[in-house]
């Protein structure tokens, strides 16, 4: 077996395709590193500035508990992932912050209580430059490496069949599956050598730069990503062997492989996602905005009907209940809308799982800490923090025996000053365990794909007539 693998390897190492693949992958990986080193420090700086600004604003509100209760925790910013060079994901389209503030309509002479809101990133509507895909690892692996894997394997069986050398090999006392495994290993190693070299160059560039510090966890994640790359290349090599054995003619096998590649890699993810997302369209953001305003108006109207004009003030408790329920209702509505959008995003992504490239793109995103899954994590962090913040305000208020414990009304709350250090601060974190959970299905699917195709290749080769 090793003999066959070695022979394959030597054959490939001396070939034109090996040289071309090495040059192509090196160029791409180096560009990737250079671009990342150009962009990432700016991104981190922007995040740190924004986060520090948010904390400052929050601490300036510590003059009274009432201000903290009504004005809220302010903006919460999403920490940029240091592994963004692995997968850009849809970061360009996703908002970088969520917020808790009492903006919006004033209600009946009172300051409304803060509520969580999830702003949409306004797309750059005057971007007239041509479209392009970011050259991240996900692209290099998903598109280029799979393409190279096909080019290394399309003739590995059909070519030998045509030249007649397969007959010679099989005339020796070697079982067929050993031949297949040997070919597989040979192709696998020869595809992986240029990729490994390119990745090493990329990582050397990134890790020697002062601008970026990768910690142990980041290296662990990179290791996992490399494992995914291995699975993915295996998949395409197995596919190449399968078609090569099934079709018998190199020319035809290449055409078939290229067409499969084009449909699964280039077209399927996007076309399927457009079909999947069409199943239900949530209301447009503009309309959502209008409805939210209507909701606030309706609440105000209901209040006026009950208690008359705001000049005649009812008891503190009535007021407190009103502002609280208004904020809650509004926040629920914001969350319901966000949920609708997320559901649609999930559906669109679920259907693309037919394509292994889309799976790998998703896996890269979840382990690089970018994109959709990461954004969901961020939203969870934000919501957890919002609860913590609310509890803090209520607990502080409870600790003061003089307070009436009516949150959101100046007279009903504790008048004691709050120490700025005691206020909980938002800190965005990445959680590897969670990433594993969300990625488990995708990983399993990838393995399943690989097993199906590999056994197909085995069957095709064993039944091959020579």
């Amino acid at each position: 077996m090793w003999h066959i693998a070695k022979r394959e390897l030597y054959d490939n190492l001396n070939s034109l395709r090996f040289a071309l693949a090495t040059v192509l992958l090196l160029a791409l990986m180096l560009t990737n590193a250079v671009l990342y080193l150009r962009e990432h420090p700016k991104r981190t700086q922007a995040y740190h500035n924004a986060a520090a600004g948010a904390i400052k604003t929050l601490e300036s509100r510590s003059t009274s508990l009432y201000r903290l209760a009504t004005e809220g925790p302010g903006d919460m910013h999403k920490a940029p992932s240091p592994l963004r060079f692995c997968a850009e994901g849809d970061e360009a389209f996703l908002p970088t912050h969520a917020g808790g503030a009492n903006y919006g309509r004033r209600i009946a002479n009172m300051t409304p209580i803060w509520r969580m809101f999830y702003p949409q990133k306004t797309p750059n509507l005057f971007n007239i430059r041509p479209d392009f895909t970011t050259l991240d690892w996900a692209f290099i692996v998903g598109y280029v490496l799979s393409f190279i894997a096909i080019l290394f394997t399309f003739d590995s069986i059909s070519g030998e069949l045509e030249r007649g050398t397969l007959r010679l090999t099989l005339a020796n006392a070697i079982p067929r599956h050993i031949v297949l495994v040997g070919k597989f290993l040979g192709a696998f190693i020869s595809v992986n050598i240029p990729f490994a070299v390119a990745v090493l160059m990329n990582l050397i560039l990134i890790s020697t730069s002062d601008a970026v510090q990768l910690n142990a966890e980041a290296w662990g994640r990179l290791g996992i990503l490399y494992g995914i790359v291995i699975l993915y290349t295996c998949l395409f090599i197995a596919l190449g062997l399968l078609i090569s054995a099934a079709v018998r003619e190199s020319g035809v096998s290449l055409v078939v492989l290229l067409l499969i590649w084009v449909s699964f890699v280039v077209f399927m993810p996007n076309t399927l996602a457009s079909i999947g997302s069409r199943t239900s369209v949530p209301i447009a953001y503009e309309e959502f905005w209008v409805r939210r305003m209507q909701l606030a108006d309706a609440a105000r109207e209901a209040y006026r009907n009950k208690y008359g004009d705001s000049q005649t003030t009812p008891s503190v408790h009535v007021l407190g209940e009103y502002v609280t329920s208004e904020a809650e209702e509004n926040e629920d509505y914001n969350e319901a809308y966000l949920k609708l959008q997320i559901e649609q995003g999930k559906r669109a992504r679920a259907i693309t799982r037919i394509s292994p490239t889309a799976i790998v793109q998703r896996l890269f995103e979840s382990f690089a800490g970018t994109g959709f899954e990461r954004h969901l994590q961020f939203i969870e962090n934000v919501q957890r923090y919002a609860r913590q913040y609310r509890e803090f305000v209520i607990d502080t208020d409870r600790a003061d025996p003089e307070s009436l414990h009516v949150v959101g009304i100046q007279e009903g709350m504790s008048q004691k000053p709050v120490s700025p250090e005691a206020i909980p601060k938002f800190k965005d974190t990445l959680n590897l365990n969670r990433d594993f959970n969300t990625a488990a299905t995708d990983l399993l699917l990838l393995v399943l794909f690989l097993m199906v195709i590999a056994s197909g290749a085995y069957l095709a080769f064993v039944r091959l007539e020579i």
Partner: protein, 497 residues
């Protein structure tokens, strides 16, 4: 002799498995994507119609001139199904009033999408062709000469009294005829689907014909690249590898590489800042004149009685990124209190002075802004496109965008129309003496009648203009073809068999 050769090649190509596979996959991809694209178009059209209706309603609800909301909407381009270009990306509605110059940089978007699916781009027909046609061209070409040389048939053919150029010509004609089948067939299917759901005019069919022609030239470029490789190499294996890597580089890598690495020049922020300051000065000048007027009339001051009587809202600003300049000047009141009635004549004089001044100021600012925007954004985009044209894909994309009218010039046409409409609206206001009328600021004695306002119409540029914009790129493709063909002939004539 030529005829026999062509027939042989044609049969050779048509009978192969690869031809059937290519035909099938092209049809499948084009039809599947057309269905998705038509749905997408219909959704955008609905959003457009809703928006038009909403804006008409808003205008009807505007009782005074100064608080009117006048918007114009950009309809989705039905040919964006072929090449979406900038059609989906740029803003699709924009406000029209005298204190504001509508441009591409100020438009807004109705029917905003869900950010969680924005990542997936819908694939247009030209993109399918970009990928599939180029691949087809190379696959059918790589072994055309090298294969015959390996099998030894080339020697036999050349033993006949036939020129080498003729052999190449025969190969070219027959293979291109073959490759046209999937192209034309899939387009016919797409057209079948299109005509069922949207009305296409004769001009649209001419544009589509232009796209077909360009696609043909594009396909031919890749076939010739393949042939060149085939002529230049002695073995099919080498030819194939070279062809595939060239394909990967030209289609997958180069367009993304060049766009990612070319970063905008460093002095852009300085340029924006200079223009910003210049416009700010123009606005300051306007403000000085306004204040002078208020002082001579004796009604200056934010908290003056005049200001209270009219519910003044005044704003003049310039955006630091897009340099959007606007001057808003309005009264937010539903009636004038009887004791403030004495201010009505001076209010009329005020608006009659300040509104034309605002219009002039904005036009003056626009001259500065236009130059800056051209230098900053348009130049950048043009450079990108020129660099992209080093790959045939870039040329093809640019040419088809020009045919469909979804290129930059096609979209700018709309904004020029919006600017012309602004002029029409201003003329209309002058004709109605609106600036010095009571309805300008208050509607207590009769609201504005908007029915006589000329409606906004926008016709996409005619086929002639589209052709004029597309032809340079088409010629570029044809030149590529000629150069490649000559190179092939030269190499083939000098090569040993």
């Amino acid at each position: 002799m030529l005829k026999i050769l062509i027939r042989r090649e044609l049969l050779d190509n048509l009978m192969t498995f690869r031809f059937a596979a290519v035909l099938l996959i092209t049809l499948l991809l084009v039809v599947a994507n057309t269905v998705v694209l038509i749905q997408d178009y219909e959704q955008r059209l609905k959003s457009y119609n809703d928006s038009v209706k909403r804006h008409q309603q808003e205008l009807r609800n505007s009782k005074t001139y100064s608080t009117a909301f006048l918007f114009v909407n950009r309809a989705p381009n039905p040919l964006s199904i072929f090449n979406a270009g900038l059609d989906k990306r740029l803003g699709n509605y924009i406000g029209i009033y005298h204190g504001f110059m509508p441009t591409l940089w100020d438009a807004r978007m109705h029917g905003t999408d869900n950010p969680f699916i924005a990542f997936f781009s819908s694939i247009d027909i030209v993109f399918v062709f970009e990928v599939i046609l180029s691949l087809m061209g190379l696959i059918f070409a790589y072994d055309a000469i090298a294969g015959e040389r390996e099998r030894g048939t080339l020697r036999l053919v050349l033993a006949q009294p036939i020129g080498r150029g003729q052999i190449l010509l025969a190969k070219y004609i027959s293979t291109m005829a073959c490759l046209l089948v999937p192209l034309i067939l899939s387009l016919l299917f797409a057209l079948l689907l299109l005509t069922r759901s949207m009305p296409l005019s004769t001009a649209d069919f001419l544009r589509i014909a232009g796209i077909v022609l360009t696609s043909f030239a594009y396909l031919s470029v890749f076939y010739l690249i393949g042939l060149l490789i085939s002529v230049a190499t002695r073995r099919t294996g080498t030819a194939l590898m070279l062809a595939m890597f060239i394909w990967g580089f030209l289609i997958l890598v180069y367009p993304n590489l060049i766009r990612a690495t070319v970063s905008p020049g460093g002095d852009i922020q300085a340029r924006v800042k200079t223009a910003h300051n210049q416009i700010q000065q123009i606005l300051n000048e306007y403000e000085r004149e306004r204040q002078k007027f208020l002082e001579t009339e004796g009604i200056a001051g934010e908290s003056s009685e005049f200001s209270k009587a009219l519910g003044f809202y005044h704003q003049a600003d310039v955006n630091p990124v897009t340099l959007t300049t606007y001057i808003e000047n309005m009264s937010v009141i539903s009636e004038i209190r009887p004791d403030f009635e004495k201010y009505v004549p001076v209010a009329k004089r005020y608006y009659n002075f300040v509104e034309p001044l605002a219009a002039r100021t904005v036009e003056k600012a626009w001259r500065v802004r236009k130059q800056a925007l051209e230098e900053i954004y348009v130049k950048q985009a043009t450079t990108d496109r020129i660099l992209l044209k080093l790959s045939p894909v870039g040329i093809y994309d640019a040419a088809t965008q020009a045919w469909t009218g979804t290129d930059l010039s096609g979209l700018r046409d709309f904004f020029y129309a919006a600017q012309r409409y602004r002029k029409v609206v201003i003329d209309y206001l002058y004709a109605k003496d609106a600036f010095s009328s009571r309805e300008w600021f208050v509607a207590d004695k009769g609201a504005v009648d908007w029915r006589t306002l000329p409606a906004f119409t926008f016709q996409r540029s005619d086929v002639g203009t589209n052709a004029k914009r597309a032809l340079p790129d088409l010629f570029l493709l044809l030149i590529c073809n000629l150069v490649l063909f000559m190179a092939i002939v030269l190499i083939f004539i000098r090569s040993e068999v």
